[in-house]
Symmetry: C4
Subunit: 192 residues, 4 copies
């Protein structure tokens, strides 16, 4: 299997996930400002998840650039990542409909934690296929962001039962951290 | 990142937005002419938004033609444009369910204003990457349509609280203005 | 604009329309055979519309094969076709929820009539760009199927108020007529 | 018709089916653990169907690799497969909302049986076009998995009225059996 079709299928699935999420943005009940204000928590959850999915799309694109041949392991790690990302819309809608409720806020963190782990496994599968001295292995280096994010998500899951605000602050901070584009792979590609 | 994948991803997202919008066209309640007439406002909003999204798809296609290399800025300006466009279905449905109500009519205008601004920023990001003497910069020229549209949308947002009919007239007029294909980029490409 | 991107965008939109139509197949209320039987009319409408959309996809694919350069007219005729096809899911659901009711059965026919007209206009736009002696013009020849279908749909719309069964019979017959693949274009391509 | 466009259209449809299935994962009613637990059966059905669709995507990809030219028969066998797969989301949702109810569990099995038969017909159509000594014919060999799966699905449909647990066990076992990648085609391709 060539990586082109894997990339095209993954792009398609991520494009659909990012777009159908808007279907969870329910039409306000009523025609006034109050009705609009009522969907504000849903809207902010939607913005946050849109940014996360756009980050995953962008980084996943860079990641697949480093793949030469797709193994069965890479294929299933990629499918697992897509599965995890597919849970984002429903978790977003649940948190949006129950603003600052502990369980939905914690579950949202768990649903962010899952693709982070899947992405890590996908990186491992690619490096395993390429060898420890591969382009990706050297591009990743210590991979601080990739290692700190799951820890922060896990912390946010626990903190949701103390203060949901704190969890949401963590989700926003991790998104901001990733918004700064990942130049490691680009640099390694340029140097190679 | 090559522009081909950016174009393919953007096409995919716009194709999905334009198509899932039809899911907001609710099935009429009942089996008679009255039931059908009841969804008429939804239908006309749908027609208007379909035309807007088709215009964006077409112009966005021409715009990406002028891009040689995708910068991080272009990538995020493009993501912001897709985000703004993704709000069109829910705004369309809200206006369709509350025909001629001031707030939904104004919000629809605001949701048209947002991608207009995002499109302007994307043009800026492309010109910045290419330099002021670039193909796109000269193709745009004074860019009368691009500059007058946001002003008209903003006017329509305010006018919705005076007369929603006037706002809707403006939305239709701007769509008609854009339906005339934008030959500036095509001409500049032909001359270059 | 190259025809490749037009074909890819059209394919994407038709793929989404054909797939989201299944979202109108509501989950049965209850867990027994009765609940399943209750969605039978929806299911048969779905089957019929799936076949129609698959036929359009297939024929549209052949049609675009004959296009060399995309004009503005072709672009908008194609967008109009996609718009008409996008109405099929909601018309299908309405007919499915009101089996054998005259108005939904007639509206379904009208929604089949619209893309037939749009397809005819798209053919005209392509022939106009290519000239009367073009590949497509000779491939179409008398175009019996293309001319008889709109007449049959129009008849079915009227007959729905006499006997909805008769209209549905016509919809099925036209689908069967088109299921036999259109070899005219294939043959003309082979001979050229 | 080239196989590339057939593969792209099929990929698109499967990507959309696998993704819109998540729309059937309803947002929990309420904000507590109980609400979350209430969607657990839906979630497990979703996981199972996601795995099935990912397996079909993967195997379908390998299958199309062996196609040189697309015949009308292949085209319609492929459309029938996509139709059968499009029924998976609604069957998944019905089984998820009525955990361990006999009829939904049996219908789910029937909906798994249908694409298995369609896949078999598609293989037959490809071999027929290629001849009995074709790459695919030799790659398939005895095709134990392809022949045993429909039998197991049919058994599960009947057993659902005795013990739904048993049926679900069969669905899981067949999925696990297919998760082991199908190396026959890969091997035959390598040897050719």
């Amino acid at each position: 299997m060539g990586k082109d079709r894997l990339a095209a299928f993954s792009d398609g699935v991520i494009a659909i996930i990012i777009t159908i999420m808007v279907l969870e943005l329910k039409v306000p009940h009523g025609a006034g400002w109050n009705a609009l204000a009522g969907v504000f928590p849903n809207f902010t959850s939607y913005v946050l998840s849109f940014i996360y999915l756009a980050i995953y799309w962008n980084n996943h694109h860079h990641l697949l650039h480093t793949v030469a041949r797709v193994s069965g392991l890479i294929l299933w790690a990629n499918s697992f990542l897509l599965f995890c990302l597919s849970l984002v819309p429903v978790a977003t809608a649940w948190m949006g409909e129950n603003p600052l409720a502990p369980v939905p806020t914690a579950v949202y963190g768990a649903v962010l934690l899952m693709p982070a782990i899947a992405y890590y496994l996908l990186q491992k599968a690619i490096v395993r296929k390429q060898g420890a001295h591969s382009l990706l292995a050297s591009a990743l280096g210590a991979d601080i962001k990739g290692k700190i994010s799951p820890v922060l998500y896990a912390a946010a899951v626990v903190l949701a039962f103390v203060s949901p605000w704190l969890s949401i602050l963590i989700y926003v901070l991790v998104a901001v951290m990733w918004l700064i584009p990942d130049r490691r792979i680009e640099n390694a590609l340029r140097e190679s």
